[in-house]
């Protein structure tokens, strides 16, 4: 059992939350309907809140968010992928929120240092998951166009889903525990996808560069641009307080 927070683990989980919050923040003012402006911002705010707690466990939240280079970020490649259309964003939300809810559920049930944070976050992720599942159903069982778009989103992001189940350095979840989590994830995602009348993508869930790469600081091209936008103002005023 770990008694103190492992910084590597805090960074991995914190970066997932921060990067996805940043991506969801890009939707502000562009959502397809006013209710989704509210919902997507809600999810982004929850994730940002999680990120702030987690990064603060690893150091200074702003130094970590704004002054690290791309290769120092430990988030999954899945969360850094560009928003694409609404269906693509929902596919990303479905894959990630199911994973995050299962992972936080495990951490909340244990007695490790992340248990208190996970206990709060698991309630938030239950809402995120419900939101993603409801939209997967609506889009899958909506019109031909929505079905085509959500199917394309699920397919495009499929190869980033394997990385989620590599053991995270510093978490009390070994390869066996992560394999069990993966089986539950696959069952949950399959159930929603099938209920929506969609098909589970075929093909590998990792590629040559995606197998655990994000957790080791190896990212995809869109990530550098996202960081440049996120960090430029903070970096333009070294040492300033905001």
């Amino acid at each position: 059992m770990t008694t103190t927070v492992d910084k590597a683990a805090a960074l991995a989980l914190g970066d997932d939350a921060l990067v996805l919050a940043q991506r969801l923040g890009e939707w502000a003012g562009h959502a397809p309907v006013l209710e989704e402006e509210v919902a997507l911002a809600n999810i982004a705010l929850d994730l940002l809140g999680q990120a702030r707690v987690l990064l603060s466990l690893a150091g200074d939240e702003d130094e970590l968010a704004f002054l690290r280079e791309e290769r120092e970020f430990r988030n999954l490649q899945l969360v850094e992928q560009a928003n694409g259309d609404f269906a693509h964003t929902i596919a990303r939300q479905l894959y990630f929120s199911v994973y995050q809810q299962l992972l936080y559920g495990e951490l909340a049930a244990g007695d490790g240092p992340f248990a208190p944070l996970a206990a709060k976050a698991v309630k938030e992720t239950a809402y995120h998951r419900d939101h993603a599942e409801q939209w997967t159903l609506r889009l899958g069982d909506g019109t031909d166009e929505s079905r085509r778009r959500v199917q394309a989103g699920l397919a495009a992001l499929w190869k980033f889903t394997g990385e989620m189940f590599r053991p995270v350095e510093g978490l009390d979840l070994d390869a066996e525990a992560m394999a069990a989590l993966e089986a539950r994830w696959l069952a949950a995602v399959t159930a929603v996808v099938e209920k929506a009348g969609l098909t589970l993508p075929e093909g590998p869930r990792t590629g040559a560069w995606t197998a655990g790469a994000g957790r080791q600081g190896l990212h995809t091209e869109p990530f550098g641009r996202m960081l440049a936008e996120m960090q430029h103002l903070h970096r333009s005023h070294p040492g300033a307080s905001w």
């Binding site: 502000a28 003012g29 019109t143 903070h234």
Partner: protein, 323 residues
Amino acid sequence: MVAMTQDAAAGQAPDPALVAAFDAAVAADERVEPRDWMPAEYRASLVRQMAQHAHSEIIGMQPEANWITRAPSLRRKAILMAKVQDEAGHGLYLYSAAETLGTSRDELLDKLHAGKQKYSSIFNYPTLTWADVGAIGWLVDGAAITNQVPLCRCSYGPYARAMVRICKEESFHQRQGYELLLALSQGTEAQHAMAQDAVDRWWWPSLMMFGPPDDESAHSAQSMAWRIKRHSNDELRQRFVDIAVPQAEALGLTLPDPDLKWNEERGHHDFGTIDWSEFWEVLKGNGPCNEQRIGQRRRAHEEGAWVRDAAAEYARKHGEAKA
């Protein structure tokens, strides 16, 4: 109030008893509720004003959302995201309040997108630096609150009730904007300059938010009689200036008006002449961001059409209310 579910039939003069009851209720500061009889012109005037207000909330998300991805600290990012989310929420309350008058949100959005209904001209100015987020909070939200607090007592019940909730959130936003500017003003030289530049650019447009001078305001007199509006444009503008001047001093920032000074005799601040030609130009569509703002709104709506269609189709198949 006299309970009536329908307006007078088109072309017929309304029953004088209904008109008298309505006038008496308004004069007695009673609330008009959706099922009460009301003059067609009162209804139309409310729809126009509430629609413009709702549109302002959703267009107003854009200049601030412009900085969400670039906010310089995680705390500021969270505050800004929450604020922009609140604005979407205000849009929702206001469109819902307008629906009680028999006008759907879709109908109002179509009119906005077609340029047939307006939103506040202030959002046709750009947010060029981070300090603009603070200046919007302090000055633009400050002006909006000055305008909106009296609307909490507006004669139309659903609008008044929506405004109570909105004003609470707006005053929170205003304090956050002020606090953001204070941090900049007391920060590095570059941050202070950024704050001053933002105040210099937002001050005059904020004064224009109260609308044209009283003698040129198209809708004012009737709205006052109907107790939709309770104070004149110039009166509210003066109130705002009087509040803002000491706040600017506390911020350590100057307001860009050499004629601004305390008038002992009036008990108010005198201020310089507003450039109304700029106001009318922006209103006509020639502001810095008119096309950009309405363009983004139309695009988001058009690009989201397939999502709304999918939700409606799903709801139809599954016998749900429209999502």
